[in-house]
């Protein structure tokens, strides 16, 4: 008997062409890969290799020119605007520049993604505190981003990404804007989330060193995957 498991993310011959001014850029030229539940995949590549474009496709922020993106078996290209928004609630984004809302405290930032998902006030307050404790920032949860260090801001961003029990975390250079010591701590946190809580993680980075910490890594170059490394 065969057991069919649905991948968390699967791309089939993914292509994306966009116009940079008037020049068409073939950012993705047929990308195929799969991420299963509990996986920790690093996408490596120099700038311009198409990794950010790939991330936008997987994150349902943009639509492919050709090919398919399946998230938990659902073809993203068939979804309308509202359905895409609903889908994004279940994807935990972590950005290089944190992208916290400056006027909100750490706790309010974490609560925001839950309030977008219609969670009740009491519930999300409790959840936000738990998550900030998980990322080790409970003591500073009433501080605004400007009062937090880069590492602390990224922890808040990770807590926010985890808020709606996402299918997977999608990280874009999560340590790219942080000093190396703090970067190690953040990486430790990410690994811990993957190993202890079974959170599926896709991380885009140009840092070879980070890739060794992931379970798997793929190397991108000129819009295609050139190599796959299993650690």
């Amino acid at each position: 008997m065969m057991r069919v498991t649905i991948s968390v993310v699967e791309t089939i011959n993914l292509r994306k062409t966009y116009l940079l001014g008037k020049v068409p850029v073939n950012a993705l030229q047929g990308v195929n890969f799969k991420v299963d539940k509990g996986d920790f995949l690093a996408v490596l590549g120099p700038s311009g290799s198409g990794k950010s474009t790939l991330l936008n496709m997987i994150g349902a922020l943009d639509k492919p020119t050709d090919g398919k993106v399946f998230i938990e078996g659902v073809d993203v290209s068939t979804l309308n605007d509202n359905q895409l928004a609903d889908l994004r609630r279940r994807i935990g984004f972590v950005f290089q520049f944190f992208n916290l809302i400056p006027r909100f405290t750490a706790k309010e930032n974490v609560e925001l993604s839950m309030s977008i998902a219609d969670m009740s006030r009491v519930e999300r307050r409790k959840q936000a505190e738990n998550l900030l404790e998980t990322v080790g920032l409970k003591a500073r949860m009433n501080h605004k981003p400007a009062e937090l260090s880069g590492g602390e801001q990224q922890r808040v961003a990770i807590a926010r990404a985890l808020a709606n029990n996402p299918r997977f975390l999608l990280m874009d250079e999560p340590t790219g804007n942080i000093d190396s010591k703090t970067a190690n701590e953040i990486l430790g946190l990410i690994k811990r989330l993957n190993e202890e809580k079974g959170v599926t993680i896709i991380m885009v980075t140009h840092d070879q060193r980070l890739a060794t910490q992931a379970k798997r890594a793929v190397q991108m170059f000129d819009g295609v995957i050139t190599m796959e490394i299993v650690n």
Binding site: N56, L61, D81, N82, A85, R88, N99, I101, F104, S113
Partner: protein, 433 residues
């Protein structure tokens, strides 16, 4: 996202830019305050004028004249322009026979003077049957001091309050039991001739306060109709006041028509209610005009809101990208932006209504002060409006209308920026610096 969360999100965005939001709100405040102040003053003025007119009016009366409109009450002498048709004192007999008429009285009135103690005052000399006049205008043709005799002697004179006390300060021009000279210049005689007789003041009327359009006036002197006929040397009257059995519209209309027909359509029949209706439609136009001017200032405020929302949209493009990446729907982004402008509109309208109301009251106080000032120092003012009291009126309609208008304008002008915000593509918005 729950409505309450949308609201608090919008509110947090406003709070972030207090000065800017404050200035935008100020635009709405000024617009709404102007509307509320103008409308409550003009409605107050309308109420005052209507009330003052109604003092001199009886709704169950008709005024029959030979033409020239309701200006007749003050200076009736030139009513006969046009056809040359004349009404006479004994025409009341014809009118009395018409259905629904309970009584009719003729009025002869001329502009003249009263002389007492070496001083002259311009007055309207009105010849009426005292008893019948008092029965029609039972609330205004009432003596404050002295008596109005039902069967007056030839020399009996009843004077209005402003004739007795023209300066409103108890310095009396004449009083009960004074013998005053009644003067009139007959301009139709060649050469013009001054007529004079000495009358005896038997009563001073209580203050009426109206404008003397129709009915008893503060600045008139009343003499018996028979004396008027001999003094003015004519039995041609200026108007006939007709009292009806009731003030139903049907009665008023049918009787008006019957009276016109009885005089071969040579007379004009005016009902008190018709005059009030004309006045109230004039006021509606004035109100609309003033409201329109005030609305323009709100339009300017609306453009200000649009401007500020577009700036805000530019500044927060990245924020919108984040919200969309977190799964916020386009519709919710739209609501967040509309919510911001609705809050600004609501605050502006609320403060605007309050300050408009204060402004209206300040204006009313200034008006009242000015009125007293005029009455106290200018003798000439005694004959006219004097100090007029305006009580600003804020009706629930104006209140709710202003609130809705303020919020409505704010939301409408925010529609375009909000729509643009909601249409932003998440990838592009996130990339925006």
């Amino acid at each position: 996202m729950k409505p309450r969360d949308v609201f608090s999100y919008s509110f947090s965005a406003i709070r972030l830019r207090k000065l800017r939001a404050g200035l935008t709100t100020l635009g709405v405040v000024i617009g709404i305050a102007a509307i509320v102040a103008l409308l409550s003053i003009s409605q107050g003025l309308q109420a005052t004028i209507t009330e003052q007119l109604q003092k001199g009016f009886a709704t169950d009366t008709l005024i029959v004249s030979t033409g020239g409109g309701f200006g007749l009450g003050a200076e009736g002498a030139m009513g006969t322009a046009g056809s040359g048709f004349k009404l006479f004192v004994n025409d009341t007999q014809t009118i009395n026979e018409i259905e629904n008429v309970t009584m009719s009285i003729a009025i002869i009135q001329k502009a003249g003077y009263v002389q007492f103690g070496g001083k002259n005052r311009t007055v309207t000399i009105v010849g009426v049957d005292f008893a019948e006049y008092a029965s029609i205008y039972s609330s205004t043709f009432v003596a404050e001091s002295g008596d109005i005799p039902p069967y007056p002697g030839n020399m009996t004179v009843v004077v209005g309050k402003r004739v007795s006390d023209p300066w409103k300060n108890e310095t009396l021009f004449c009083n009960v039991n004074d013998d005053v000279e009644i003067k009139w210049t007959n301009a139709t005689a060649r050469p013009p001739k001054n007529e004079t007789y000495t009358g005896h003041v038997s009563a001073v009327l209580q203050e009426i306060g109206g404008f003397g359009v129709v009915g008893p006036s503060d600045s008139a002197v009343y003499i018996p109709i028979s004396k008027a006929e001999s003094f003015f040397g004519t039995d041609e009257c200026d108007m006939i006041i007709v009292k009806l059995e009731n003030d139903d519209k049907a009665t008023i209309d049918s009787t008006s028509k019957a009276i016109r027909n009885a005089f071969d359509k040579q007379v004009q029949v005016m009902s008190a209610t018709a005059v009030l209706n004309i006045l109230s439609s004039v006021f509606s136009i004035i109100e609309l005009f003033l409201g329109g001017i005030a609305a323009i200032s709100l339009l300017v405020a609306g453009i200000g809101i649009m401007n500020i929302m577009i700036v805000s949209l530019m500044e927060r493009t990245r924020e919108i990208g984040i919200l969309k990446a977190l799964g916020m729907k386009s519709r919710t982004v739209l609501m967040v932006f509309l919510g911001e402008s609705a809050i600004i509109g609501l605050m502006g309208a609320a403060i605007g209504i309050g300050s408009g109301w204060v402004l209206a009251n300040v204006v009313a106080i200034v008006f009242r002060g000015g009125g007293v000032f005029m009455g106290g120092n200018q003798a000439a003012a005694g004959a006219g409006a004097g100090g007029m009291t305006i009580t600003p009126v804020l009706t629930p309609t104006v209140f709710l209308g202003a609130l809705l208008f303020g919020v409505g304008v704010s939301v409408i002008f925010a529609l375009y920026p909000a729509w643009r915000a909601s249409k932003l593509k998440p990838v592009e918005a996130l990339r925006y610096e």
